[in-house]
Symmetry: C2
Subunit: 602 residues, 2 copies
């Protein structure tokens, strides 16, 4: 069992003694300096996060805290998990401060932190909604009390790592101590209907070294899956409670719950050296990837229960593909990557970040998709608040996705690279600087629009050192410094380095038509258009005068790429036959309308 | 405006002066005497209806009435609309008595009727659940108070027509008078979230001649569709409340609500001679048929909201296709048939009865599907109580479907034929006797297994008389007495008849592969196998050793039909390549398992 405290200020940072092959780089030690992600990170800082705080006022999440502490009158508003949106915003603000050192944002988060701290009960319990509506822990399958606690803890860890301050961490420790005193074997043997506390407690263990947090996280992971949860008409499957994590061979039920649980279980496996648990999670991940993931990386096929479907059940029109599920998928894949060092998980992170998650956010950073459909018919009437047929929306009654995107974008630099004792691994390609401690690197690229990735050594490490650069699975024909490298792994160079040395990875970005597994009814006889890591979509805005529902493609025909700096913040469009496609993540930035990712073959 | 009282004892019997082209035949004047439907009608009488009463005890629907009248203690159990299941059972029992004259069943229904009558308030209000949980009419969008009243009235009309007794009719009249006094223009201007009261009030008008019932029904039809209903997180669309019936061009929202409303609106149009309303309903029906109906006749593509989807949104695995929606579809089509005399609606009734509805019932008549999927994958894990992957179930928490099937089967003879002043129209083919007043006919056939339908005159009418026999739209190449007749209409012979005269319709029952509309993603590149009116399915039980999910068909290959009197009560199976198919409605009678209606083309 490990006891050391983490050394890295990034989301999900295994402790020094943990069974992880790779170590994250502190958020403040890596930076995205330009390109597609910089646009989005800037919009996140300039628009999403400030607007997010205003939305938390408008939706009364913050008012709930003021009511709880006696500064305001009334009954708490919003869903039972309303507190969690505040905590996710606090986490976003913390990582953003690590990036920008914006003192105004620090003041802002400390102001909210103080309000949160005042709302904590003397025994450490903290919730502004549940106590006003029902008995504390009286309906844990639905009350989200541990879920809210988990997000509080994640925010506190982020604040500590990003600002060095203990303000929120003290609250988190009191809350975690209360949980340890209350739940576990021989105490209250009950679990929350919505996982996230597992990841959070492991991270708090990493931050504080308190073994009891890790023990409780492990207990929560193992207590689940025995069919004890049933609530609000949902079967145990919905809550990932049908089978124990150690027995399940796939993901099922509510998609966000399932991937958050898996990410937490991965954290437990990493910290406890539980290889059997890790292997089971790898089996589940492989099943998800092969049978239950959209071409966009989206997760969750069913509106009903926001859930994974059966294997190969992947409707395009009714795809749920919740933005939060893509984010949870990234969190799970990140932990699997740290644990195993396998490039497939970095491929997955790229797929989900650039398509499944990024589609959830408008270009200006102020509107969001909850649900990410892959097909909107012409004239479709959206009934549901969450329907993508509306276009993106400023906020939601259930506003889990917006602050989830915020915290992901503000910590995005943390996913670029990792280190080992003798090397650095570059997983995601963006114009960036990476301070790996013994070495400092600079990445120059126009990726994903261009396939050339130049890695420059700004500070050379002493002696031999390995630089590993991911070669995505789709990148057949890639070269490193002109020599062929295998797709689906890392191209590595181990030698002594001098300042100014560089490596140039060339990834072929030819557009390609992809087909789905033959068992996927909804994509049979169809093709999707992909270029590099980007999935493309045919949108009415680019295809005036045709009914997209009646179009088809010829996979043998040429696809031409065109750079369009004027369009949608700068984009490469694709043209096949008479149809034009844009990157999927950018659709619906010119109003709602018809859209297709898959098109039938002529 | 009409004022005369109906002369026909069948479900939905337009009054004498109504604007209907066809008149129904009294349930007691037509009888199914053998074949497929007789098997099912017998099982309904022998198993479903008696077992249904036991289930109403077990699920406490009847206990709720005893509590309400003070014969028992406690709080009412079950869903807010629990009373409606009792009423649908009463309706089933009434029609069944008309068929069988079973005095035990009459005693049974009168016993339940007495209990229901005692539960009525002095002012006519009648509900056992709502008053114990909330204010009367305080939450009409969700309380189903008019919905329950509607089913009570339908049962009362059935009891009157089937037994001649006024026991339940007196209750219904008091309840309807209470509704008339309470709701409508200048009174409480509110509508129930779940239509059915519209059909019911028109039928009560037909039975009693009380104009106020028709007026209120019309008001309920027109008051809807102005976006006034929002409840339990559902948008007005869910309640068919987004657009007025007179403006809507398609069906949308909750499928059962939508088709019940349309059926009620058709009743109003028929009784008031409202041709514009009828034309709008025909437009809606055409849209539903072309864009929102499964090959099985099933209605409703979405689990979420039990709802119609967008046009051509017809997933097979997640088809909802609620059994009740097929029944509501039959009710709507029946009214359109009476109003217009168009064979297309009789075709639709056949499609929905033989496939969409009948699949909802097990061969012994004791188990039910709520949801009728068209594709179950091998090893699919059913999360939901209603999932077809479980196989059929004895009852449901929400038990709307079982007694709905019961009342449909016990009144099925009413759908066989209609009359006009100078003729009779045979719409559905079964061994049967039809007493059309001036003429009595006998139908001899093994349909749907064999395509030969012999109509024999048992009692000849005076003078010239028209006998019309439906020629289904699929029956290209049909002949009447050896001469070709057009498919998609009625073959008619007008002449003088003598006892023993006969007509022989020959319908070609060659199996055929059908394709879906090219916009249906979920069936693209696939074919379904159909023979006559029956849709077939490939079930694991007949296809041992193969994984159905990986099979395909060659539409150009021969399909061989085989009579299997030993199998599933006697059935014609189809064989294509190495695969065997059975009628879709019979699947899952040998345990749950994999099943496909659509198979990819080789």
């Amino acid at each position: 069992m490990t006891s050391a405290i983490t050394t890295s200020a990034s989301p999900a940072a295994p402790s020094v003694g943990a069974h992880a092959r790779l170590r994250p780089i502190a958020v403040g030690s890596a930076a995205v300096t330009g390109g597609l992600w910089k646009q989005r990170i800037d919009a996140n800082a300039d628009a999403s996060i400030p607007e997010g705080r205003a939305q938390l006022e408008k939706a009364k999440n913050l008012l709930n805290f003021r009511i709880r502490v006696g500064d305001a009158e009334g009954e708490p508003a919003g869903p039972i998990f309303a507190d969690s949106d505040v905590y996710k915003w606090l986490e976003a603000a913390a990582w953003e401060y690590a990036r920008s050192q914006d003192e105004g944002l620090l003041r802002d988060q400390l102001e909210v932190t103080e309000l949160v701290a005042r709302a904590q009960d003397a025994d450490g319990y903290l919730n502004t909604v549940v106590p006003a509506r029902q008995e504390r822990y009286g309906e844990l399958p639905w009350s989200h009390e541990h879920y809210c606690a988990g997000h509080l803890i994640q925010a506190a860890v982020a604040q500590k790592r990003a600002t060095g301050r203990d303000d929120l961490l003290d609250v988190a420790v009191r809350l975690a101590d209360h949980l340890v005193a209350t739940f576990g074997p021989g105490r209250t043997e009950d679990i929350d209907g919505h996982p996230v506390i597992e990841m959070a407690l492991v991270e708090l263990f990493r931050e504080t070294g308190t073994q009891a947090y890790l023990d409780l996280a492990r207990w929560f992971v193992d207590a689940r899956g025995h069919g004890i949860i049933e609530a609000r008409g949902h079967a145990p499957t919905y809550f990932s409670d049908r089978l124990p994590v150690r027995e399940a061979t796939t993901v099922e039920g509510h998609a966000v719950r399932a991937v958050y649980l898996a990410a937490g279980a991965a954290d437990v496996a990493i910290e406890t050296g539980d290889d059997a648990l890790l292997a089971q999670l790898a089996t589940q991940y492989a099943s998800m990837r092969a049978e239950k993931q959209y071409v966009t990386g989206g997760l969750g096929s069913r509106w009903d229960g926001e859930a994974f479907g059966d294997a190969h059940e992947l409707p395009n029109d009714r795809a749920y593909a919740e933005t939060c599920a893509a984010i949870g998928g990234v969190q799970w894949a990140w932990r699997m990557l740290l644990a195993t060092g396998e490039a497939q998980y970095a491929d997955q992170i790229e797929l989900m970040l650039l398509n499944g998650m990024l589609a959830g956010l408008s270009l200006p950073g102020t509107e969001y998709f909850y649900v990410n459909a892959l097909h909107i018919r012409e004239g479709a009437h959206p009934d549901e608040e969450r329907s993508a047929a509306h276009g993106r929306r400023g906020w939601f009654d259930c506003a889990c996705c917006p602050p989830n995107i915020m915290r992901t974008l503000s910590s995005l630099a943390g996913y670029l690279a990792t280190t080992t004792d003798g090397g650095v691994q570059i997983h995601q390609f963006a114009p960036s600087t990476i301070d790996a401690g013994s070495a400092a690197l600079r990445v120059e690229t126009s990726y994903p629009w261009d396939g050339s990735v130049r890695v420059v050594v700004d500070e050379a490490p002493d002696g031999e050192f390995e630089i590993a650069i991911r070669v995505p699975e789709w990148a057949e024909g890639a070269t490193l410094d002109g020599l062929p490298v295998d797709a689906g792994g890392y191209a590595t160079v181990t030698r002594a380095w001098a300042r100014g040395d560089e490596l140039v990875l060339e990834l072929p970005l030819d557009a390609r038509f992809v087909a789905a597994h033959p068992r996927v009814d909804e994509a049979r006889g169809q093709r999707a258009l992909v270029r590099g890591p980007l999935v493309y979509a045919f949108e009415a805005a680019d295809n005036a005068g045709v009914v997209l529902d009646d179009q088809s493609v010829d996979p043998a025909s040429a696809v031409t790429a065109e750079e369009r700096p004027d369009l949608l913040g700068g984009v490469t469009t694709l043209r096949t036959g008479d149809l034009t496609a844009i990157p999927y993540h950018l659709w619906a930035n010119r109003g709602p309308g018809a859209m297709r990712v898959w098109l039938p073959v002529d």
